[in-house]
Each structure stands twice: as structure tokens, then as C-alpha cells.
């Protein structure tokens, strides 16, 4: 019995009660004998079908996983580019910040505003004060 025959053949119960009693024996003898699937065949069919289905599902899962990884890989690359650009912008801002903090620039800007440098800064000497206390 082939596997295709097994698929087309309905399962048959092993009971005599189902056969009509009045059916002529001649007819039975003349009818082409149809092979009946055995339990072994059915189980094999189910097992093979299941295996094929599993392989198919696994293949699909693998494809889905591969596609997901690939997509995530491209996304990671995109994010890396964004990160690199943000780092670059950050470095440029740090340079700009250093330029703005430069004492020479501040001095120039202060002069433009008409500010002048103090000649001396009065400092309160702590030692004499603490000595008096």
C-alpha cells in the first residue's frame, strides 16, 4: 500500500456487524478488493506528515528569524550612524563651547562692552581678624 492510497482510504473498523447480511456472496467476490490501511500505515503517514509540517514550520521560523535579524541588523547600522553623527555634533559643540569660553574671546568682548580690568582686587586678610578674636 502506498502512502497516497493510505490517504484516500477511509479507516475501517474490524467489525462484522456493519456488513448487510443479505448481500450476495457473488457480489462480494466480484468486487475489486480494496486494500485496507493498517494502523502501522496510518501512524507512518501521520508521523511523516508531522515531520514535514515540523520541518516546514522550522524553516518558516528560521526564515522569520533570519529576516528579523537582518532587519534588526540594518536598523542597528542606522542607529550606529545616528549615534556617530550625534557624537560628531557633540564634539563640534564641545569645540564651540571651548571657543566661547576662551579667555581671549571674553577679554575682547568685554573691551567691546567698555569694561576695564581692575587694577587691584582688595583682599581681606584673615590672620589679623582671627588673631583679634
Amino acid at each position: 500500500m502506498t502512502l497516497s492510497q493510505a490517504v484516500r482510504t477511509a479507516p475501517v473498523r474490524r467489525t462484522a456487524n456493519l456488513r448487510p447480511r443479505h448481500a450476495p456472496r457473488v457480489q462480494r467476490a466480484a468486487a475489486r478488493p480494496r486494500p485496507r490501511p493498517t494502523t502501522w500505515e496510518l501512524r507512518t503517514f501521520i508521523a511523516v506528515s508531522g515531520a514535514i509540517a515540523c520541518v516546514f514550520v522550522l524553516a518558516i521560523l528560521y526564515l522569520v528569524q533570519s529576516t528579523t535579524i537582518s532587519t534588526l541588523g540594518y536598523e542597528a547600522q542606522r542607529l550606529e550612524r545616528v549615534r556617530d553623527e550625534l557624537r560628531r555634533q557633540n564634539a563640534l559643540l564641545e569645540v564651540e563651547n571651548a571657543r566661547l569660553d576662551s579667555p581671549a574671546r571674553i577679554d575682547t568682548e568685554a573691551r567691546k562692552l567698555g569694561l576695564v580690568r581692575v587694577a587691584t582686587i582688595p583682599v581681606v586678610q584673615l590672620a589679623p581678624i582671627t588673631a583679634k578674636r
Binding site: 533570519s66 541588523g73 571651548a98 571657543r99 581671549a104
Partner: protein, 563 residues
């Protein structure tokens, strides 16, 4: 009725097919076995890219963390002229690009019409320009990023920092001295790419991460450095001097707080710099120091107990030594004078008197102890050693001339180190500019190195008192800083010519001093080459010291030690 095919022809056909099949099978077998490697390699090469991952060059900061040098990837503009369009489109693109690139549209058009398939229009553009060009959305133009060393303070500290050339190699200053350390180690990335040049997430990927360069923290103080460069330029403009230099040292450990040389250059635009400007005159240039050496001569004599500050001699304006007569400046005579007054008057005859008491051997020995005639060991490229001739080559007169700083060559840095000995109580430190290095293992701080102890603490204290008197009562009065004690000495030296004589009417004016004199926080040496006011150039040097000292004392928040 079809004609029957003869069996012979059928057999021939069969044999032909069989042979063809056999040959093809053998060929397939060959490619699957012996030639598999070549085939695989050829196929892999089509999708594999082997990239060098450049390491980030180390960042340089000042002692307070202010950024001095960093590397940033800047965008370079390239063009594929064919994609820009026809002649009209290229002319239109050139007209739009020219004002942003700061050039003429003809120049841009010429580049686009040069026949090149691919060319850079401008490398490492400022970010604003790159954004403006990006906004134009001209077809056929694109950007690539390339690393660029940036110096946010422009020319500030140029001679300390040095620069990085277009090949990424550090030259001069720190960039040259610490190039290998700053550069780091490049990495490597082998990866497979898809037809759109994107990395494949699933596929070959071999990566060796780059090791970024070491970050450096300097002893330099940006505020003091700015002040030094400002006042040095002011002095240069006033005196029209050919060159000038200033060194500011912390005498307590030899840390360089500021170092300036003039003429200077912008490390970001070295191509435009005068080659003479690249020389660091504070470190790589030597000169005859003149009277600033008198303090060293007298320190040696006092340390050897050959004289005391109160030892007297009769100053007749000139002194005879080795059959030669050496005179004071302008031929002045001061009569009976003390050793302290030698410094106050800057008397050459007095220096000859002290040297005679000390002797040639001792003077030569002390010059070596103070670090003259050899490199200080500062961590900067191209340091000059100066020159102290071997004692065997000294003529008798050399004892007298070297006593007041002629016939000896020193660098401004050496002189600052020697004055730091007097300021800190007698210890000679190796000057240094890198305070700390930070790499993957953490921060490594530089420990100060004491090279020697040329004079005792008592001698150093005595010299401090004498140099204070020189500023308060003597020739260096122009260096006085209100509310602070200052110790220092002027120097005016003649310039030797190639024929061994001294050039007439050309001088080097200098001042070396420290403040507050009783607890020195910094030593400053100022040198001006060929000032316009000639002998009076020391007045400018002293006023420059005063201005720098005021700024430094203010910046360091040092309490006044005088009412």
C-alpha cells in the same frame, strides 16, 4: 515516411553526449574540490570589505580641563561631475557653491569641468558651510567625513601644542613628542556587504576594535597662557623686536604654567605660517643671557662662602681679568659697594669681583649644577641644550664674562629652571608640561622629578632677599607689583656675530623674576630679541613681567603679602 536514423550515427551522438557530460562533470568536480577555494574567495571578495577603523586621537586639556586640542570628523565635499548635469547645470552649481566655499565660481566650474569622474571640491569643511551646501541639494555632490585636529583657542599655546599634518602625524610641541601615544592603534573590520553597500547582519564579521589615543592633561593654565601671549604681543608691538619668548614655571615642582614664543602661528592653518614662526624660542633657541646670570654667579659664591651679601669691594667702573678690562654698562662706577648692590646696580665689575673670589672651576661646576649646558629634559620636542664650554677651553677672561652672562648660551627655559632653584629653596626640578595621561587603564599623573640641589636652602633664601632688594631698591624697580613682594633681575646682553665679535647696537633684553618673593608661586622669564629701544628694552621686559604677574596672582587668588 520518416527516414530511419542509422545506429552508427546514434552511437556517435551518444558518445559525443557522453564525452560532453563527462567533461562537464569533471569540470564541476574540479570546481567543487580543487578549485573550490579560488571560487569561494572570488565570490567572497565581491561582497566582503576590509576596512581600517581609525583610532580617535587623544584630547589635550589644560590643568583646569579647558579643551586645547581635539579631533572631530569634518565633512569633505566631493563631486561626481557627470551627475551634476550639463554645462549649464555645472555653471549654476558653481555659482551657488562659490560664495559658501569662499572662492570664485570660475574656480569651482573649472574643477567640475576638469574631466575627473570624482573629485574633492573642498576637504574638511566648517560645519556651517557643510550644512549650507547640504541644503542646496545639488545632484552629484556628496560628503565624506575626515578627521580634523581642531584647536579651539586658535594660536594660544601653539608652541606647546605643536600641530598635526594632513597625514595625521603630530609635529612640533606635544603633538610631535607624544605622537605615538596620542595617535592610538587603528582597528580592523572585515564584513560582508549587500548590493546597497550595507553591512550584512548575518554573514562574515571580524572586528578588531581600535585603541583610542591617550588623553593628555597639561600643566598649562589657559588664563595665564592667555595673559602671557597678550602681554608678549604687546611688548613685541611696542619694541618691534624680532622675536620674544616667555616662560612661566611653578617653582615648587617644575610645572610649566605658560610658555609663549613670538612670532607664532595658528596650528589649524600651518600652511600659511612663516617657517620661522614654528620655532619655539622658549625651548629650542639659545642666547647669551647677560646680567640675569649675575644672580647665579652670586648664588654660587655665597653657597661656597666665597662672599656674603655684605662683602664689599670698590667699584671703579671697570675690572681687569685675564689681561682684559671689563666695564659696567655706560661706564658707570659705584664706589664702595656690597654684593647685594652688585645686583641692585647690575655692575659687571662687581660680578667679575665675585667670580674672581669663586674661581673658574667652581663657577663651571655650579653652572652645570643649575642645569646650563644640557637639556632640562622637558617633554617637548626639539629642546636646545645651550652651551657652556668645557673648562679646558676657558680663557682667563671667560671667568669674568660668564659671571655676567656673556660667553655662555642658555635657553629661556633653562634660565627659568635656574631661577626656580632660588625660588623654591635650592632644588632643581625637571620642567614638564604633561600633568596626567588618561588611557583605557585610567589616569596616570606625572610625578615631579628633582634633578639636583645646586645650592642650600640658606643660600636660596639669601638670594631671594637680595633679588627682592634689586626690585625694591635697584635697577629692576620697574617690575614692582603693588601689594606683593617681587624678586628679580634684568638682563641686557650683546648679540654675537658670525665672526666671533659682538654686533654693535643690538641687544637682547630680558627679565627673570618670581612672586610672591617670600612664597613664590611662579617664576617668569621674559626675553626680547633686538628691541627697538635697545638698552631700554629691559623696561618693557619689566613692565611685561609686572602685567603677567598681576594677572597670574589674580588668577591664582594669591593673598597680598605687603600692605
Amino acid at each position: 515516411m520518416t527516414e530511419a536514423v542509422s545506429p552508427r550515427r546514434l552511437r556517435g551522438l551518444f558518445v559525443a553526449f557522453a564525452c560532453a557530460t563527462l567533461l562537464l562533470s569533471l569540470r564541476v568536480g574540479y570546481w567543487q574540490t580543487i578549485g573550490r577555494g579560488d571560487l569561494l574567495e572570488g565570490a567572497t571578495d565581491q561582497v566582503r570589505s576590509d576596512l581600517v577603523l581609525s583610532a580617535q586621537r587623544g584630547v589635550v586639556r589644560d590643568r583646569n580641563g579647558a579643551l586645547l586640542a581635539t579631533t572631530v570628523p569634518l565633512r569633505s565635499l566631493y563631486a561626481i561631475p557627470k551627475r551634476v548635469g550639463d554645462d549649464a547645470a555645472r555653471a549654476n552649481a558653481a555659482a551657488k557653491l562659490a560664495p559658501i566655499l569662499g572662492t570664485t565660481s570660475d574656480a569651482v566650474a573649472a574643477a567640475l569641468n576638469s574631466g575627473s569622474e570624482w573629485l574633492y571640491l573642498r576637504r574638511r569643511l566648517p560645519e556651517d558651510s557643510a550644512r549650507a551646501i547640504d541644503a542646496l541639494a545639488i545632484p552629484g555632490l556628496g560628503f565624506e567625513t575626515e578627521p580634523k585636529r581642531l584647536y579651539p583657542n586658535d594660536a594660544l599655546g601653539a608652541h606647546v601644542l605643536g600641530f598635526v599634518n594632513d597625514d595625521g602625524v603630530g609635529q612640533y610641541g606635544l603633538e610631535g613628542q607624544y605622537d605615538a601615544m596620542l595617535r592610538g592603534m587603528p582597528g580592523r573590520l572585515v564584513v560582508e556587504r549587500d548590493p546597497r553597500d550595507r553591512e550584512l547582519a548575518i554573514g562574515l564579521r571580524t572586528a578588531v576594535s581600535p585603541v583610542n589615543g591617550t588623553d593628555l592633561t597639561l600643566t598649562l593654565d589657559v588664563v595665564i597662557q592667555t595673559s602671557v601671549e597678550r602681554w608678549l604681543k604687546d611688548a613685541m608691538d611696542k619694541e618691534k623686536a624680532t622675536s620674544g619668548s616667555v616662560v612661566v614655571l611653578d617653582p615648587r615642582d617644575g610645572a610649566v604654567l605658560a610658555l609663549a614664543s613670538y612670532p607664532t602661528y595658528d596650528p589649524s592653518a600651518v600652511a600659511k605660517a612663516d617657517p620661522q614662526a614654528l620655532m619655539d624660542r622658549a625651548v629650542s633657541w639659545t642666547y647669551e643671557p647677560g646680567s640675569t646670570m649675575k644672580a647665579i654667579t652670586i648664588a654660587a659664591a655665597i653657597d661656597q662662602h666665597a662672599v656674603t651679601p655684605n662683602t664689599t669691594y670698590v667699584d671703579k667702573g671697570c675690572a681687569v681679568i685675564g689681561g682684559r678690562t671689563l666695564c659696567n654698562a655706560l661706564g658707570r662706577s659705584y664706589g664702595t659697594s656690597t654684593v647685594t648692590q652688585i645686583l641692585e646696580h647690575s655692575a659687571n665689575a662687581g660680578a667679575v669681583f665675585v667670580a674672581s673670589k669663586l674661581g673658574s672651576e667652581q663657577l663651571h661646576s655650579y653652572l652645570g649644577s643649575f642645569g646650563f649646558g644640557r637639556k632640562t629634559g622637558i617633554d617637548l620636542a626639539a629642546e636646545a641644550a645651550g652651551e657652556v664650554r668645557p673648562l679646558a677651553e676657558w680663557y682667563p677672561v671667560d671667568l669674568g664674562t660668564i659671571a655676567f652672562g656673556q660667553g655662555i648660551a642658555v635657553s629661556p627655559l633653562q634660565l627659568a629652571s635656574a631661577y626656580a632653584v632660588l625660588a623654591n629653596g635650592g632644588t632643581l626640578y625637571r620642567p614638564y608640561v604633561v600633568a596626567a595621561q588618561r588611557d583605557a587603564d585610567g589616569e596616570h599623573r606625572t610625578a615631579p622629578v628633582a634633578v639636583g640641589r645646586p645650592v642650600s636652602a640658606e643660600t636660596a633664601a639669601t638670594l631671594r632677599t637680595m633679588l627682592i632688594s634689586t626690585v625694591d631698591n635697584g635697577i629692576a624697580n620697574g617690575a614692582t607689583v603693588p601689594h606683593f613682594s617681587v624678586a628679580g633681575k634684568t638682563g641686557t646682553a650683546q648679540i654675537p656675530s658670525d665672526d666671533g665679535r659682538y654686533i654693535d647696537d643690538a641687544y637682547i633684553s630680558s627679565f627673570a623674576g618670581f612672586a610672591p618673593a617670600n612664597d613664590p608661586r611662579f617664576v617668569v622669564v621674559i626675553v626680547l630679541e633686538r628691541p627697538q629701544s635697545k638698552l631700554l628694552g629691559t623696561l618693557t621686559a619689566m613692565s611685561t613681567f609686572r602685567n603677567i604677574a598681576q594677572d597670574a596672582l589674580r588668577s591664582m587668588r594669591v593673598q597680598p603679602d605687603r600692605p
